[in-house]
Amino acid sequence: MDEALLADLRRVLGERILFHEADDVPTIGVEASALFDAVTALYRDEALAYRYLTDLFGMHYPAGAGEAGREARGEDLGLQVLLYNMEKGRRLRVTCRFPVGSPEVASLTPLFPAANWLERETYDFFGIRFKGHPNLKRILNIESMTVFPMRKDFPLEDQSREDKDDPMFGR
């Protein structure tokens, strides 16, 4: 990661940075409970000014691994927030992980209205709950669905279909 950028991030976020890396998009990891404060601080700072939300999505790591610089702590769901500074054209990815069984984080909708549907989509697919979201219900899947389809243990194929099962090659 660029030294100047890292220095700025440390200045603004300080202790909240758990790890940092920069393979393609500069990335910092924070605790889930600190995500909203971190993103707000990045928004408000004049030098960094990450005031545009490009994307927000979830991840599932069933084995608890994945992500550089972090050893597996038994956390299986994660959130990735992609921020953008449009004046300078700089991207930043802020990521956090949730302990198993309680994937909850404060919603970013007060800061970015764009996060509204992105968080609903993340909830729909992974089951991550966003506290303070105005309307947290499923968006793309059927409302009455009880499971979270993008998790790795959910099957992809339509289960009611029999004509494609092949004894040698499976489905």
Binding site: D23, D24, V25, T27, R51, Y52, L53, T54, D55, F57, M59, G66, Q80, L82, M86, G89, R91, R93, F112, P113, A114, N116, W117, L118, E121, F125, R138, I139, L140, N141, I142, P149, M150, F154, L156
Partner: protein, 402 residues
Amino acid sequence: METIKGNAVKDESRYLTLNLGPTHPATHGIFQNVLKMDGEIVVDAEQTVGYIHRAFEKIAERRPLYQITTLTDRLNYCSSPLNNMGWHMTVEKLLGIELPRRVELLRVIIMELARISDHLICTSIIGVDSGALTGFMYIFQWREFIYEIYESICGARLTTNMGRVGGFERNFPPEAWEKIDHFLARYLKDFEEFDSLLSRNRIFMDRTLGVGKISGERALAYGFTGPNLRAAGVDYDVRVAHPYSGYGEFKFDIPVGVEGSAYDRFMVRQEEIRQSHAIIRQAVEKLRDEDPAVFRAEVPDWVLPPKEAVYSEMEALIYHFKNVMGEVEMPVREVYHSIEAGNGELGFYLFSDGGRTPYRLRLRRPCFIYYQAFPEMIRGSLLSDAVVTLSSMNIIAGELDA
């Protein structure tokens, strides 16, 4: 409690609930809007999407990289080659493949043709939704011609699956070049005729000026990108902000609107078509200096070798086997690449864990993000304005739901 024109509304039962969709002539694609109306004025809108959710991100976790191209076709299906090229660039970024300049120029031509094709649908359909069918009929003739160009290059009209990692599957045939030259020579005249039907048409301007306005700051807050954002006054274009595929060398303008109304969106798209036409012309010029036999980078690990070689050379046979069986090592990386697609910044966040298929592929779909602003844009306007706003935003259901 809402106040309409200064009168306090006594009870909610005064409002009419109107269900616009999911199947409705004005919704191009399937999405539902439940409008709360006070007479003819829209007070609020509640949207339901997901009626064409096909689980692209989950399918992508089970497909090798070259099979995901067919999924990207079906995102914004009005401009499939754009999505294909964006995906290929993402994979090339992951694998660290350098492209020959000719491939980049060919890609620019294809992407700009796809952009013209996409914008033509949107602008002609804004006309159709305001009652003007002639423009649609005229200009679709040229869309058919663009389809013929695609057909001579890759064989398909709409869902093109065009290109391979590192370039194209075969060189552009001479017919494709004839058609591109014909396009460059004849298209603008017919396009200006189509434009003259609508752009200074009193009725069309009455229908679209000041309709569905959104300011630049609100658009940025809602995550707008693409022509919708540029119509609101912000000149953000991924081709200029983060140039890819050699766009930095081209001379083109970014049209920017004034107040983010439907008319601005229409005019921005029309002007972008002219700019795309200029870019294609420049690309064809630049191609004169390039070796015409080059159409792909040398990446035998990722592209199937020609069949004659597979049957006669040992190396080609091994590469063929490795490709088909997925024996090639993928780097463990997480890359993000975005392109200026027809509707805005289409981003691919590709997480690879070294396996044959992506660990996670996130598609950052511009339609999904900016459609959230629709209730805000139509609050206080008439029902027919809501319809024109919807069509001027160019909501493509495939990209909305993915």
